[in-house]
Each structure stands twice: as structure tokens, then as C-alpha cells.
């Protein structure tokens, strides 16, 4: 009997998409633990014993100062070693919405630097996520064009439909060079688009992200961060107009992301 894939979904004050994210992994066959960041900081829980790290959506620490900043600091100041090892071991990380903000602000995404990482100073922040151009929190469904290279999105259709729900999701880069590099490395995984897959206008691009970027990965394709919520389109009946559609499957567009993660881990990270 093969070992089961183990997923750690971390949470802290203000995390709030933890249970549905955990459910999405569980429903794809993984053993999933919801763990408070305090347990990792205390060392009571070891990151090492998991294959997938998920940072779910929410308002960690109230989005105070700016979204994701305080949790990002906890990761890069206190857990950098174990996360680094986790990445080096070929394991997987996904950050959704607030989790994406955390990965970006801690520098783990897009991870362009080739430097050896000894401290958080070696993790420069190359991109950021700021207030939507509308200056409002908005919950709405977005069409996304898939691109780039990530183990998380293999087999996903050319466009998918996920909801966004955020106030600070506008993707901004430090320089043109960063954007060029993201393109060159095939790190841009999701772009907002319109219904027919073409260039969007507001609200199809809900926040004003440059190059309509909704999600990126690291250079290996194993770390994924995105503003839209695939866990909110896990099942067919979460689609905003499923009552108009023919039911071909009980799953929605988001389920495959979690399946890909679990399958990859099963194949590559579990021996025997």
C-alpha cells in the first residue's frame, strides 16, 4: 500500500478559506491537516512531514498595513529554512488569494533570483499586489486564460472560470525586466480574459493587473500563486449559472488544480 499524500493548510488569525481548501485536497484523496502557524513557529509541527503546503485565502491579521504582509514576514523571518528545504526537496506550494499575496510579499514568488538563500534578504520582492483600481473589494467571476508551465495546471482547458474576491489583487512588477523574465520563463500561468478568451476590460480584469496577470508560478512550476479561487469552483453547483448548464461532471473548473497537486506528489514525492 502506498503512503498517502500529506497536505498542510496553514492558518492564522484572519485566515478564512482554510476549510474549503482543505476539503478540496481531501476530496482528491490527500491527508490534509489544518495547522495554525503558531505550531510551525513553535516547532511542534514539522513542515518536512508534508508534501504540499497550501496557504489559503482570508484576511490574515486583518490585511493591516497591507494584505499578506505580516504573515509573509513570519514565513520569511522564521520559517525560511524549512520552506527552502521544502522547495529544494521538490515539494509543492500553492497560495490562493491572500496566500498568493503572502507568497509574493515574502519573495517566494516569482523567485527569480539565482542566489543561494540564507536569509530573507536573499528573497527580493520583485512583484506585488496592490489595491484594485476600483478601490473596492469585489466578489465576481472571471474568465482566465491558461498559459505558462506549471504542474498545477496540466490538462486545464484553454480558459477556466473562477471567482475572485479581493480588494488588493492588482498585479504590479518592479520593472519591465521582471515582466520580460516572467514571460520568458513561462511563469505567467493565468491571465484574466473575456468570455471568448480575448483581451479583457474592467470588470473582466477586475483589478487592473498589468498584462492581465491573475496567477504566476516560480521557475520550476511547482509553486503556484493566484488571486482567483479554484476551491470555490470545486463542484459543478458552485458555478454561478449552473442551473443553465448541462451537467457533464459533478466537478467544476477548479477541481483539477487540486487533483494535479495530489497526483504529482503521489508520483514524484512518495517512494514505494
Amino acid at each position: 500500500m502506498s503512503k498517502k499524500v500529506k497536505v498542510i493548510v496553514i492558518r492564522t488569525a484572519g485566515t478564512n478559506c482554510d476549510e474549503e481548501t482543505a476539503f478540496a485536497f481531501k476530496a482528491q484523496g490527500a491527508d490534509t491537516d489544518l495547522v495554525h502557524i503558531n505550531r510551525l513557529l513553535e516547532g511542534k509541527t514539522k513542515l518536512d512531514s508534508y508534501h504540499i503546503l497550501a496557504i489559503p485565502g482570508g484576511f490574515t491579521y486583518g490585511d493591516d498595513i497591507e494584505s499578506g504582509r505580516i504573515l509573509a514576514n513570519e514565513l520569511r523571518l522564521y520559517l525560511i529554512k524549512s520552506i527552502n528545504k521544502f522547495i529544494k526537496d521538490g515539494k509543492l506550494i500553492i497560495g490562493i488569494c491572500n496566500g498568493f499575496q503572502v507568497l509574493v510579499k515574502s519573495g517566494f514568488l516569482p523567485g527569480l533570483s539565482n542566489k543561494k538563500i540564507n536569509s530573507f534578504k536573499d528573497l527580493p520582492q520583485d512583484v506585488t499586489l496592490i489595491s484594485n483600481d476600483s478601490s473596492k473589494f469585489e466578489d465576481r467571476w472571471t474568465y482566465l486564460k491558461t498559459d505558462g508551465k506549471s504542474i498545477w495546471t496540466e490538462g486545464l482547458g484553454e480558459t477556466v472560470y473562477y471567482p475572485v474576491a479581493h480588494a488588493e489583487g492588482k498585479f504590479v512588477v518592479k520593472s519591465k525586466k521582471v515582466l520580460e523574465e516572467l514571460k520568458k520563463n513561462k511563469q505567467i500561468i493565468f491571465r484574466y480574459c473575456n468570455f471568448s478568451g480575448n483581451k479583457p476590460v474592467y470588470p473582466e480584469n477586475p483589478n487592473g493587473s498589468i498584462d492581465n496577470i491573475a496567477g504566476i508560478s516560480d521557475k520550476t512550476g511547482r509553486i503556484l500563486g493566484l488571486m482567483p479561487h479554484p476551491e470555490r469552483h470545486f463542484s459543478f453547483t458552485q458555478h454561478p449559472f449552473w442551473t443553465r448548464l448541462e451537467r457533464k461532471s459533478d466537478f467544476g473548473d477548479g477541481a483539477l488544480i487540486f487533483k494535479n497537486g495530489v497526483n504529482y506528489a503521489k508520483k514524484n514525492l512518495i517512494k514505494g
Binding site: A13, G14, T15, N16, C17, E19, E20, F23, A27, H36, N38, G57, G58, F59, Y61, G62, D63, D64, I65, E66, R69, I70, N73, E74, L77, Y78, K105, Q125, D126, V127, T128, I130, S131, N132, D133, S134, S135, K136, F137, E138, D139, R140, W141, P163, A165, K170, V172, V173, K174, G208, H229, E231, R232, F234, T237, Q238, P240, F241, T243, R244
Partner: protein, 967 residues
């Protein structure tokens, strides 16, 4: 040392906050401004070096990709020179008002290893470009940038020397109030001066009680009695005696009512006697059965007065409060959705028509919506639907109803405090929040401070409450306590008092964790600081309880013991400050008898002269504020967090159609769901409150049924908001509304499980009182047996038939249509529960059998609005005939059929294939095939004479409906 950090956007980065402030200045009607920039200020205090302050900026406060900063010590700070055509205002929170980001920013700084940080205060610098007079700048500061109850403009010539709000440590001085020696006049003076709101009979009863004890009460004892006996906590009007006189058609009836609550609302539930009602009326929320393992509970609260004064904070703490009600129901429930209903004055109200001292309705609305968004979204509870109504009578008293649903294991419903249990307070610390309102927080508040009621100036901390929620569920599931309740109005005094009512309790007030020094024992006892819950924990479980709380970073402190001597005993550093008999406290309140009068108003129906083509009328009705799209609001709420959403508030091919009720499936992997809806209509109440209640109940039920809810598994909540009940006409209309509740609920066999009342919603201007229109909100929760069968309201497919089910009468009284013509009318919609229930059951069966493609109930705007909404939400055209509508009116005009708001009606879309099966189910019921779904854009309705009376494009209907509140 204080460092001041100013953070600005880099050039080329969109200042979206500045743009939204710019918009709200334009809303004030002030011209001449070109743009607005907003900069963030952090004042950092502590024993830290400049180098550390810079490190804090770089590693925490500033996003160097998009922002610049400057950091100077406060001594070296010089404000930038103000150039011509530039206006600057820096807005900061008043001393004593919680700065919402202080807590987490301090944590973030300590994470950097800088432990000597003490306090943080933030501010915002608004830079306005353009030519503005000083007078207009004042208006902008007061009406768009700040609320002086909680904020002020920073004076650069008098910067604070210290940031932390400190007071000298309090030394206990016990103080008594001389009641025994007071005559009636003096007694009333004591009540008024102390803001006790006790009447003369109550003061005399208290005096007699203490005379027997041969001593005077302490200030704390008197406050405790006043809190416990207050309208807010004790519901004197609903529980007291009422002499009710009703005059209709020159006949007068007089009736004596002993407890309106028991003889109407509670009696309905008792008479209906449903086995699935698990716990009704005696806990923080009503509890019903959900499935074999779980129950659900539902509560809707109001937070009107605080929202009128500080809309953001009022709505914010209103949501926080109702969520704590759910956390404190039984042994604790997990909140699974919010529903919120607001009533405001018209957003178009000219500024010169605003009563003195009120905020403009548009500002109130924007603030309330932000307050709800902030709390609900941050707690991670989906706000799945609601309603917004406008009526100019709400201008001084907006209504803010906050509702919450929770789910709990079925064995966690009942709770009992045991003798010897420890009283533990968890969550937020206690400050002066909500004690005698705003008076303490700033010297600037003068005349107004007197009238500000407690709770007015609070801002919630949703992340604190989320932590409390996480800890509560963990401790509940490990059975670590015997009882829990929330600290709401009255603070510890009501929470601990309620818990100790049966056994008695001793509390040591000096143990309560405080935000700052200087609170006296009385303030600690009655403070309404937010985000606190009180638990009763058996001594052998206390260690584990405290350790789980600490794992979640939740402060928990033992403050007392449940004694068994049936007394309320309070101590401060060993001095007894309160010694009250629980029986007197909870049963000693003298019953009062209030007068109530209702006279049927002498309204008549206007003779409408409908033109041949009603296109304009339909567009006007769709654009009416009470009908039009609320998408601007809905999108700001996260309605999908928790991943349970099945039917969203906005549905249809473009995700913009108005859903009847929202549906969630709260348990992953289970097909069982809940449908939530609200019925509210103030116009009907102006004609007859009885039928207002009946119509609201009908509306709430039919919305649940329309999406697939089981009509035999619906429970409802009542929420009465009225004017001053000491005025017989106000109370009379409320009594009549309560009668309507009883008759209709019993008729439909739909039980009330909880409720709330908020009275005294009147606004005094120049000695003239503006009362809100008596307003009842009925909120419904219904079980959906299989969410896969749920139905939405958008038309699905060309060629399908459109049915109108239920009878239409000439009931234009109180309709939106008449309102667009400037009339009220008299023929208010009535309810026939026998026929209504047959319709509900038949429709429910059809939905369960999969025969219904779309279903929409007819409410405000009648068939015309319902059909238009179905059409544009589905992106499909319609042809329909009014002569096929089952119409029972003698007034045979197209406008009456199209816009009458008769109850218990639905428009249903059925395919050719299912036509016969569907009609079989409707046998014996009034229905008509009124039209067909068409390809394309044309929306055509033929009138009673067979000629087109509406002929328009669906896009125009959509635009008319979406435009008014597209802010």
C-alpha cells in the same frame, strides 16, 4: 520617542483610494477639485532608534515597488509647505478610539525583533488639488473625510507628546446613590442625570427594595438594575400590558393584552407546534433541526442608533454583535452566512432638506455597506443576500438589520451553568467603549455628546472575533465548558448576570483585562467593549480551556465563580461594590400598562389613467430605488467564502439577475441546503400594518419556495422597528402588525423561532419628532432537501412556456407603481394562507420533480417587474398576454394587472415536454399560461384588449434597472 512615517504612492501608481475620495467629494456637490491623493501615516512610539524605525519601514510598512516613505522623529517633523491650489488635511483617530491596525502592526514590529515598540497611531493625509474655499474645505473634512465622533484633524502646531492613552491607576472609592432620602422629583432627576432611562414606577420600586434593606444602592447596583430593566434588555413594551383600541369603519374595539410577545409571536409557535423546532425564544438565537447530526440557528439584530451616528462603526459592530449571538447560542454554533437589510432616506435628498445633525443618506449607506463588508468579509462569513429600502422618513433613523445563521452539532444545543463553575472572559480587552458614549473621547464634542447613546463610537475588530470563533469551536468540541454567552449591550453586566441568574455569581472586577488604566469598577462592569464572550468552565477543565485559547492567541481570564447563593456579588480589590438579590433583579420590575390606538387611515385609491403604451411606466418602476439592482452593494460582500454557495444573490447568464432567495449547502459532500430570504415593505404598513406583516411573511416564504425550499420546513424571525411606543398611535400600529404576524404564521404553519424589537426610532428637530414608518422585517430560513434541484429566476430557453401561478387582485395600494405616480392608494395586498399554502406545496413538488426551468416570485412592481427581470437575467425575449393572467379585480386596466402586488404569486418557466405534468400538479389552483420565452431581445406584452401595451428591448429594461445605484 515618536517617529512619524509618511507613505506615499510612487509616480505612475494609481491612487485608487484617492479616486474614491474624489468621487465622494463630487457627491457633496463641491466643484473645483481636480484630484485627491491619500498618504498613510504611522506614528511609532517606543524606545527605538532611527535605524530601527527605518528597518520597520523597509521590512514591514512600505511596499518599495509602489511606495515612497519618509521617516522622521516627531521633534524634527516639519509639515510640507502648502503650495497654491493645494489643500491638506490629516485625519487621525481620537484618543481612546481603537485604532484598527494598531494591534497587528505592533505584532509585525515585534516579529522583526524590535520588542520595545509601545504604541502606534495611524492617520491619513488627504491632499486635494484645486481651488476650494475654506468653507468648502470644512464641509469636505466633516462630510467626506472624517466623522468627528471618532476622528479629528491633526493640528501640526500641537502634536501629541505621547500616543498611548493612559490614565492614572484607579483607586477604588465606593459610591452610593441616595434613593431612600429622595422624593419623586429627585428620583426622576437621578434617573435622567445617570442616563438610566428608568421611569418613576421603576425608581420607586428600587427605592422600596433598598428601604427594606435599610441601605442605599451603590452606583454600580443602580446601573445594573437599569441595564437589566432597560427596553433593550428587558423588552418592556413587548412583555408589558397594553390597552389596545382599534377603530375601523366607525366601529371601535378595545382589547387588553398581557404581553404582546406571548400572545402573538410566541403563541403562534406554540400553536403550530413543530417537532423540528429545537430551541425557540430563550437563547441568543432560534434553533431548528437541519439533518440527522446538525441543527442550525438564526438571528437578526438591529443596530440602528449607532449606525445613524457613525455608519461604518455602527454597522461594523452590529455585524460583530449578531455573529456573537450565534457563537453564544447553545454551546456555540459556527456562523455560516450573513443576511443584511437596510432602510435609508433617499440617496437623492437635497442637502438643504437634511434635518440638522443628520448625515446624508448616501453617506450613511456607503458607511454602512463598508462596515458590513469589513466585518463579514474579514470574519470569512459569506453575506449571501439582503434588501435595501429607501423612504425619506428614515433620514434621521436609518435601520440596519444584521442577520446571521450558524450550524452546530445537535448535542450542543442546551447548556447549564453548574455551581462552582468559573466565569471566564475571553477575547477583547475592556475599555471605556460604549460607556456614556463619546463624551470621554474628545474635548471637542459638546452639545452632541449629551445625546449620543452608548455604543456610538465603537469600531469592531473582526480578526479578534475570528480568533474567538476559532478558539470557541475547538474548546466546544473538547467539551471544556458548560455555558457560553456573548457580551452585547450591557457588557459583562448582562452576560454574567444572565449566566448567574439561577445560581448567583461573584465577579472580581479588578481581574478583567483592561485596554488601559483608570477604569472604575462601574465602568468595567457596564462597558460594551466588543469581541468578548463569557464562558462558565468547570474547575477541572480550566487549565485545558486556557491552554487551547492561548494556542489560538486568544486572551482568556478567570474573573469569578458561580456561587449558588442566588446573589449578584461584585468586588473590586476586595471591596464589595454590588450585592443584589437575583430575584429582585430579574423579577422585581413593575409591570406597566401602555395605551395603544390604531385607526384605519382614510386613504382612497387614485384613479389611474394608464396610457396605451406602458413602456415608460415599466422603466420607471424598474428604476425605483426599492426595485433597482443592488449589485454595487452585493459585489462588495464576499458571498462565496466557505465554499458553500449554491444559489448566489446575483444569477443568470450575466451574473446580474436578482435571485429570490440564496441557497447554501453548509456541509461539504452533503446535498442538503438552506435557503435564506427576507420580506420587508414599509409602504403597506402606512396603509395597514396587519397586512404589512402578512405580506412580509408571504414574501419571505415564497422566495424560499421559489428556489426550491420545502414550504413545510420554513422557520421565520420577526424584527419590529418602530417609533416611540409611549405614543399610542405608534404602539397601536405595532400591535396591529403583531396581530398580522400571528394570523399569517399560524395560517401558513410557519413558526417564529426568535425575534427582536428596536423602538424609539424617532428624530427630534426643532421640537418636532420624525418617526420612522413602523417597519417589520421577516427573515426566513428554509430547508432545501436536495440542492441539485434548486431553481433560479433567469429564463433558460426560447420556446418554453411562462405560467403565472396564483391570483392577481386590484391591489395597487402601497405599490411601487403608485409611488412612481406620487400616490399611496388604499387597496393593500392581502394574504389568503389557505390558497397560498396550496400554491407553495404544488410548486415545491414541481421543483422537486424537475419540472421547473425558472421561477420568480412577484413582489414590488408585480408581474411587470418579475417578467422583465426574468427576461434580461436570461438574456432572452418574451411575449406575454395580460388577459391570460388569473385576475380577480373589477378594475380592469392593464396597469392594475401588470403592477398590482398581490401576494402568493409566481412566474414559472416550463418546457413543452413537462407542460402536462406541471399542469396536473396545479389542478384546482389558479394559473394561466401567460406567454412564451423568445429568442432575441424583444419584450412584448399584450394588454387586456389584445393590443401591445409594452414593447421594448430587454437591454433597455436591464439598463433602467441597473442604472440608479451604479455608483
Amino acid at each position: 520617542m515618536i517617529y512619524r512615517v509618511e507613505i506615499k504612492h510612487k509616480k505612475g501608481i494609481v491612487d485608487s483610494h484617492g479616486m474614491s475620495v474624489f468621487k465622494s467629494i463630487i457627491d457633496l456637490g463641491i466643484k473645483g477639485i481636480k484630484k485627491v491623493h491619500v498618504a498613510q501615516v504611522y506614528n511609532l512610539e517606543g524606545n527605538i532608534t532611527k535605524k530601527q524605525a527605518d528597518q520597520i519601514c523597509k521590512d514591514l510598512l512600505v511596499d518599495e515597488i509602489t511606495q515612497n516613505y519618509r521617516c522622521v522623529s516627531i521633534q524634527n517633523f516639519k509639515p510640507s509647505k502648502i503650495k497654491k491650489d493645494l489643500h491638506v488635511a490629516e485625519i487621525a483617530y481620537n484618543t481612546g478610539v481603537m485604532d484598527p491596525v494598531e494591534h497587528s502592526t505592533i505584532k509585525g514590529i515585534k516579529d522583526l525583533g524590535i520588542k520595545k515598540i509601545q504604541s502606534i497611531r495611524t492617520a491619513k493625509i488627504y491632499t486635494l488639488y484645486g481651488n476650494i474655499s475654506n468653507k468648502n474645505m470644512d464641509i469636505i473634512v466633516n462630510k467626506a473625510l472624517s466623522n468627528k465622533l471618532i476622528q479629528h484633524v491633526v493640528d501640526y502646531n500641537a502634536m501629541d507628546k505621547t500616543l498611548s492613552f493612559t490614565d492614572s491607576k484607579y483607586k477604588c472609592v465606593l459610591s452610593h446613590v441616595d434613593l431612600i432620602g429622595a422624593d419623586d422629583k429627585k428620583l426622576m432627576k437621578i434617573s435622567q442625570d445617570g442616563q438610566l432611562f428608568l421611569n418613576i414606577n421603576e425608581m420607586k420600586a428600587i427605592k422600596a427594595h433598598f428601604k427594606k434593606l435599610k441601605r442605599n444602592p451603590t452606583d454600580c447596583e443602580l446601573e445594573t438594575i437599569a441595564q437589566t430593566w432597560s427596553e433593550h434588555c428587558y423588552h418592556k413594551t413587548f412583555r408589558g400590558n397594553i390597552r389596545y383600541t382599534e377603530t375601523e369603519n366607525k366601529k371601535t374595539k378595545v382589547k387588553t393584552i398581557n404581553s404582546l410577545l406571548k400572545t402573538t409571536i410566541v403563541k403562534a409557535t406554540t400553536d403550530i407546534n413543530k417537532s423540528w423546532c429545537v430551541s425557540v425564544f430563550h437563547d441568543n438565537a432560534g434553533v431548528i433541526k437541519f439533518d440527522q447530526e446538525s441543527n442550525v440557528c438564526f438571528k437578526v439584530e438591529t443596530h440602528n442608533h449607532p449606525s445613524a451616528l457613525e455608519p461604518f462603526g455602527g454597522a461594523n459592530t452590529g455585524i460583530g454583535g449578531v455573529i456573537r449571538d450565534i457563537l453564544g447560542t447553545g454551546l456555540g454554533a459556527k456562523p455560516i452566512c450573513c443576511t443584511d437589510v437596510f432602510c435609508f432616506g433617499s440617496p437623492d435628498m437635497p442637502f438643504d432638506k437634511l434635518p440638522v445633525g443628520t448625515l446624508h443618506p448616501k453617506r450613511v449607506m456607503k458607511g454602512v455597506v463598508s462596515g458590513v463588508r469589513d466585518y463579514g468579509n474579514k470574519m470569512g462569513i459569506p453575506t449571501i443576500n439582503g434588501a435595501i429600502l429607501f423612504d425619506d422618513k428614515f433620514v434621521g433613523n436609518p435601520l440596519v438589520y444584521c442577520g446571521n445563521v450558524g450550524i452546530m452539532p445537535k448535542d450542543k444545543v442546551f447548556k447549564k451553568v453548574l455551581k462552582g463553575d468559573l466565569a471566564v472572559v475571553t477575547g477583547g480587552k475592556t475599555g471605556r467603549d460604549g460607556i456614556h458614549g463619546a463624551t470621554f473621547s474628545s474635548g471637542e464634542l459638546t452639545e452632541e455628546s449629551e445625546t449620543v447613546s452608548s455604543g456610538a463610537v465603537q469600531i469592531g475588530d473582526p480578526i479578534q472575533e475570528k480568533k474567538v470563533l476559532d478558539a470557541l469551536i475547538k474548546t466546544r468540541d473538547q467539551n471544556l465548558y458548560n455555558f457560553v454567552t456573548d457580551c452585547g449591550a450591557g457588557g459583562l453586566s448582562s452576560a454574567a448576570g444572565e449566566m448567574g441568574e439561577k445560581l448567583g455569581v461573584r465577579i472580581d472586577l479588578d481581574r478583567v483585562p483592561l485596554k488601559y488604566e483608570g477604569l472604575n469598577y462601574d465602568e468595567i462592569w457596564i462597558s460594551e467593549s466588543q469581541e468578548r464572550m463569557v464562558f462558565s468552565v468547570p474547575p477541572n477543565k480550566i487549565k485545558k480551556f486556557l491552554s487551547v485559547c492561548s494556542d489560538e492567541n486568544v486572551e482568556a481570564t478567570v474573573i469569578g465563580t458561580f456561587t449558588g447563593n442566588k446573589k449578584l456579588e461584585l468586588f473590586y480589590e476586595g471591596t464589595q461594590v454590588c450585592d443584589l438579590d437575583m430575584r429582585f433583579l430579574y423579577e422585581g420590575n413593575p409591570k406597566i400598562t401602555k395605551e395603544a390606538v390604531w385607526k384605519k387611515p382614510a386613504f382612497v385609491d387614485p384613479k389611474t389613467k394608464p396610457s396605451k403604451i406602458l413602456n415608460e411606466n415599466l422603466l420607471n418602476v424598474l428604476s425605483h430605488y426599492n426595485v433597482c439592482s443592488k449589485e454595487w452593494v452585493i459585489r462588495q460582500y464576499d458571498h462565496e467564502v466557505q465554499g458553500t454557495s449554491i444559489i448566489k444573490p446575483l444569477v443568470g447568464i450575466n451574473c446580474d439577475g436578482p435571485s429570490d432567495a440564496s441557497v447554501i449547502a453548509p456541509k461539504f459532500g452533503s446535498k442538503k441546503g438552506l435557503a435564506i430570504s427576507n420580506g420587508i415593505n414599509v409602504m403597506y404598513g402606512k396603509i395597514d400594518p396587519f397586512w404589512m406583516s402578512a405580506s412580509c411573511i408571504d414574501e419571505a416564504i415564497r422566495q424560499v419556495v421559489s428556489v426550491g425550499g420545502n414550504p413545510e420546513r420554513i422557520a421565520i424571525l420577526d424584527n419590529f422597528c418602530w417609533g416611540n411606543p409611549d405614543k399610542p398611535d405608534r404602539l397601536g400600529s405595532m400591535v396591529r402588525a403583531a396581530f398580522g404576524c400571528y394570523e399569517t404564521a399560524v395560517g401558513y404553519k410557519v413558526p417564529f423561532i426568535s425575534g427582536k424589537d428596536s423602538l424609539y426610532n424617532e428624530y427630534m428637530e426643532n421640537n418636532k419628532s420624525i418617526s420612522i414608518p413602523g417597519t417589520i422585517l421577516i427573515s426566513a430560513i428554509g430547508i432545501v432537501d436536495d440542492v441539485n434541484k434548486a431553481v433560479t429566476m433567469d429564463l433558460k430557453e426560447a420556446g418554453n412556456y411562462i405560467y403565472c401561478v396564483g391570483e392577481t387582485f386590484n391591489e395597487l395600494g402601497g405599490s411601487v407603481y403608485l409611488d412612481t405616480l406620487g400616490a399611496l392608494g388604499a387597496s393593500v395586498p392581502k394574504v389568503d394562507t389557505k390558497k397560498g399554502m396550496k400554491t407553495f406545496k404544488a410548486l415545491s413538488k414541481a421543483i422537486r420533480q424537475g419540472l421547473v426551468r425558472s421561477s420568480h416570485d412577484c413582489s414590488e412592481g408585480g408581474i411587470g417587474v418579475a417578467l422583465a427581470e426574468m427576461s434580461f437575467s436570461g438574456g432572452l425575449g418574451v411575449t406575454a398576454r395580460l388577459d391570460k393572467v388569473p385576475y380577480k379585480g373589477t378594475y380592469k386596466k392593464n396597469d392594475a394587472v401588470l403592477f398590482s402586488e398581490s401576494n402568493s404569486r409566481f412566474l414559472i418557466e416550463v418546457s413543452e415536454k413537462n407542460k402536462n405534468k406541471f399542469e396536473d400538479l396545479l389542478k384546482g389552483l389558479p394559473f394561466g399560461v401567460i406567454g412564451k420565452v423568445e429568442e432575441g431581445q424583444e419584450f412584448v406584452i399584450y394588454g387586456l384588449d389584445g393590443q401591445p401595451c409594452v414593447n421594448i428591448y430587454t437591454e433597455d429594461l436591464r439598463e433602467a434597472w441597473k442604472k440608479p445605484l451604479r455608483w
